[in-house]
């Protein structure tokens, strides 16, 4: 035994979320919303362009992500090689973002290169040329990555889960096949681009030191004449045809582990229970000392990690629990997950556990608002899903005031173990 250090604990100051107010919104001359996030410590600007151009609005499957990936593969004035050479000379980062519901571009640039970088951003966002050769190469690469994913139990389980939960007649539950890659054409991309990459269908966030210095430059590049006035994005109507809950097994030959995914339909951000459900899910499987981590990892040693998440897209919410375990542990893992949920449905969490989760979430909120770059990432979900500028302030209130009785109520309402989707992907 080593001689020990001081044992007495220092007093802990209850963490607060700090200032969670939403950033200032301004508009370019044509109405494009611009969110300014200031007080950066270094001479960098992060400028993100978000379009209502995700899978949500595509008519041809995979058109949204392919269009987005092709933006930097050539424009009307530069071929792919010279375009990328110009981008890389500035030292800037151009990150493509394409998800289920939105798509766009994140640029991070040295402040002194702002004008050059925005000239290039305008070119790639609004004047891409979709050359055939680059498209063929991209398709081959994407297909290879897709086939690699077919070997992963976690990928298969995720796909099957959302298919069962959302049904196949919408972009959340749709299954992708190799044919989807092979049948896509540059004509599909050009059509998708002209319909959705428009100034009247976008917003911009600017984060860094003195973000307002970017406004004039943005005005010049993204509020030109003849582009139309900005309109509130239209969310298409979605059809959800969920399969009945129950157990689905998918064989992934030779895998040494199985992915276990369990879940339920959840609620969307507008629902009054949404924020409380975030706290409840955190207690179950949202942190290192959560119920599931303590049981499945720290007591049983079945897994490297197990997580529970409650989230929402447009029109549908979900609750999901996921973990990778040795094939031989998977049945017992499902049993233990159900046991932990049952426990939370019967007994209220203790005041200590409640305080722990409260403080942890307050710390998380403070970290989400720690600097303009972090904030720019945090506000995306709120803007994209129209969750309201007071979302984080309300969340801080929920975290402060929610009671163990209310948590128990939420478990009984949303975590029905008789009625769960249970997906297992792994060896037979």
């Amino acid at each position: 035994m080593k001689p020990s250090a001081i044992k007495t604990a220092p007093a802990i100051i209850t963490p607060s979320a700090g200032d969670t107010s939403f950033p200032e919104k301004t508009r370019l001359g044509n109405g494009v919303p611009v969110y300014l996030l200031g007080n950066g410590a270094v001479d960098l600007l992060r400028i993100e362009f978000v379009f209502n151009a995700g899978q949500l609005v595509e008519n041809v499957h995979l058109a949204a992500s392919a269009t987005n990936a092709m933006l930097t593969e050539g424009t009307v004035t530069h071929d792919a090689v010279s375009l990328n050479d110009l981008i890389d000379r500035t030292g800037a980062v151009f990150n493509h973002t394409a998800d289920k519901d939105n798509a766009g571009l994140v640029t991070v640039t040295l402040t002194r290169k702002l004008e050059e970088v925005m000239t290039l951003a305008e070119e790639v966002l609004f004047h891409p040329s979709f050359p055939e050769k680059e498209f063929r190469m991209l398709t081959e690469k994407r297909l290879q990555a897709f086939l690699t994913g077919r070997q992963k139990t976690s990928v298969i389980a995720r796909e099957v889960f959302y298919q069962a939960l959302c049904g196949e007649r919408n972009h959340y539950g749709r299954i992708t096949t190799p044919d989807d890659y092979m049948s896509l054409t540059t004509a599909d991309l050009k059509e998708f681009h002209s319909r959705h990459y428009r100034p009247d269908n976008m917003y911009i966030t600017v984060a860094g030191r003195n973000p307002d210095q970017a406004l004039q430059v943005l005005q010049r590049h993204f509020a030109g004449t003849g582009t139309g006035e900005w309109q509130k994005p239209v969310i298409p109507e979605l059809i959800f045809e969920s399969a009945g809950p129950g157990m689905i097994f998918r064989e992934v030959g030779n895998s040494v582990q199985s992915t276990v995914r369990m879940g339920w339909k959840g609620i969307t951000r507008a629902h009054p229970d949404y924020q409380g459900l975030q706290v409840a899910t955190m207690i179950l499987g949202g942190y290192f000392g959560s119920r599931l981590m303590r049981n499945i990892r720290e007591e049983k040693g079945y897994t490297y990690g197990i997580h529970a998440v409650a989230g929402a897209f447009h029109g549908i919410g979900f609750i999901t629990i996921m973990t990778d375990v040795a094939n031989s542990y998977r049945d017992d893992t499902v049993k233990e997950i159900k046991k932990e949920i049952r426990e939370l449905c019967i007994n209220e969490v203790s005041g200590d556990e409640m305080a722990l989760v409260r403080n942890h979430l307050m710390g998380e909120l403070a970290r989400m608002f720690d600097g303009p770059f972090a904030m720019a990432e945090a506000i995306r979900g709120v803007i994209d899903y129209d969750a309201g500028a007071d979302y984080f302030t309300r969340f801080a209130d929920t975290v402060r005031t929610i009671t163990p009785g209310r948590i128990k109520e939420l478990f009984n309402k949303y975590f029905n173990i008789e009625n769960a989707f249970e997906i297992i992907a792994g060896a037979k």
């Binding site: 001081i6 070997q151 403070a366």
Partner: protein, 413 residues
């Protein structure tokens, strides 16, 4: 420029403080000079297994995570071949909680059999999840024993073989703890909205009375110069072939490190680099082609890693990589290529300064290399690299006899 102050406690603990007024948070980062290179070849994966045990609590603080969370913090750790690093980020007015936790687990760890059994199982599942149940996951596990024959870099931090973890006993773990987890073998780096004076005062309060212990003073066998090409072929259930080529380089403190870091950026750091341009776009041999430094402190590796396109012969692909590397050795890179690499370095350096926790680790790491001030002087190292240095280093490093190659091929259907 990252300003910092440095102070050494009586027991040898090196303390670094960086005052970042732009954040309400603070990161306490403690680095132990013990990594998988310090393990016995018959008992590998110990440093990493030990990292897991450091979260298992002490008699004084049975649940390590609870106070971190009560203080609004988050924490994690990582182990590599050179070192083990622990960090806690929390609101700056709770810094003392982090220091209390770190000083407590430096001395009073619970290494009971029960805790050990569970973490052995967790690490086994980590091994499976990250290396075995991932397509291409074991590639780097294969590379180390091919490239190294003597130096302990011949195994990965996760261990040479999972049976080593299964056999780990508490006696050897206690010896490992007593040997390496001491003030004189550690560097504490604090970055955030706390003044250096306060940091030093609190460090002395929480760590000052812990006995010094020994510093590492390791004596590792040097890897002999490789004198012939090495090659292995494996077949795995993957959709596409993958080529790995690794060359021995000088250590982290050498001029060669900075030269080759820029070389990898010119070759593969961005989309207009020579590899994406030539090997992917123009000749269509690879769907992606990357090159990077392993970045270890002792002499390490510079690694090419490329996913082949369907139907391409892997030997032909390898020839093309060699041609590109040969081009570096025979003629200078252009001034445009150098300028691009320098601009990219500058923006990436600034991006890494956005987070106090990055700065805290980086300061501790440079201190381990010999001087925390390296965080600032390395900019000059990069900016001063010349085309001639690149040509000279490339001809020295990218020789066939200095190369280890893996042909990672799809199983025949």
């Amino acid at each position: 420029m990252i300003r910092f102050e440095r102070h050494k406690l009586g027991n040898g603990l090196r303390v670094i403080a960086h005052h970042d007024r732009g954040t309400p948070m603070v990161t306490s980062n403690i680095l132990y000079d013990a990594g998988s290179r310090d393990e016995d070849p018959g008992a590998t994966g110990f440093a990493h297994l030990f990292e897991h045990l450091m979260f298992e609590g002490t008699s004084n603080i049975p649940v390590f995570d609870a106070p971190v969370m009560m203080a609004g913090g988050e924490n994690n750790a990582f182990t590599n071949n050179d070192l083990t690093n622990y960090y806690i980020t929390l609101p700056s007015n709770n810094l003392e909680t982090a220091l209390w936790l770190e000083s407590d687990r430096m001395t009073g760890l619970d290494l009971s059999e029960g805790r050990l059994m569970t973490q052995k199982s967790v690490v086994t599942e980590e091994f499976r999840q990250r290396y075995l149940n991932q397509p291409y996951g074991d590639m780097l596990l294969l590379l180390r024993p091919l490239a190294y024959k003597v130096h302990p870099y011949r195994w990965s931090a996760i261990g040479m073989d999972i049976s080593h973890i299964e056999r780990a006993d508490s006696g050897s773990l206690i010896r490992f703890y007593n040997r390496y987890y001491n003030p004189s073998n550690a560097i504490l780096s604090v970055a955030g909205s706390v003044s250096p004076d306060e940091v030093f005062m609190l460090a002395d309060k929480w760590f000052g009375n812990i006995p010094a212990g020994e510093s590492n003073g390791r004596l590792l066998p040097a890897e002999p110069m490789q004198d012939e090409r090495r090659e292995i072929t494996v077949h795995r259930p993957v959709p596409a072939a993958h080529l790995v080529m690794a060359f021995h380089t000088a250590g982290r403190n050498s001029r060669e490190f900075y030269i080759l870091d820029l070389v990898t950026d010119i070759l593969a750091g961005c989309d207009s680099g020579r590899f994406p341009d030539q090997l992917v776009r123009s000749r269509e041999l690879f769907s992606e082609a990357d090159m990077y430094l392993s970045g270890e402190i002792d002499p390490g590796l510079v690694i090419f890693s490329g996913r082949l396109k369907d139907g391409v012969d892997i030997r032909k692909a390898e020839e093309a990589v060699k041609e590109e590397l040969g081009r570096l050795a025979s003629g200078p890179v252009t001034s445009a290529e150098l300028e691009k690499a320098r601009n990219r370095y500058e923006s990436h350096r600034l991006m890494s300064y956005l987070s106090a926790s990055n700065k805290a680790f980086s300061l501790a790491f440079h201190e381990l290399l010999g001087d925390a001030g390296g965080i600032n002087t390395e900019t000059e190292e990069y900016m001063s690299v010349t085309a001639e240095e690149i040509r000279e280093a490339s001809s020295r490093v990218f020789r066939p006899a200095n190369c280890s190659v893996i042909y990672y091929l799809p199983e025949k259907r």
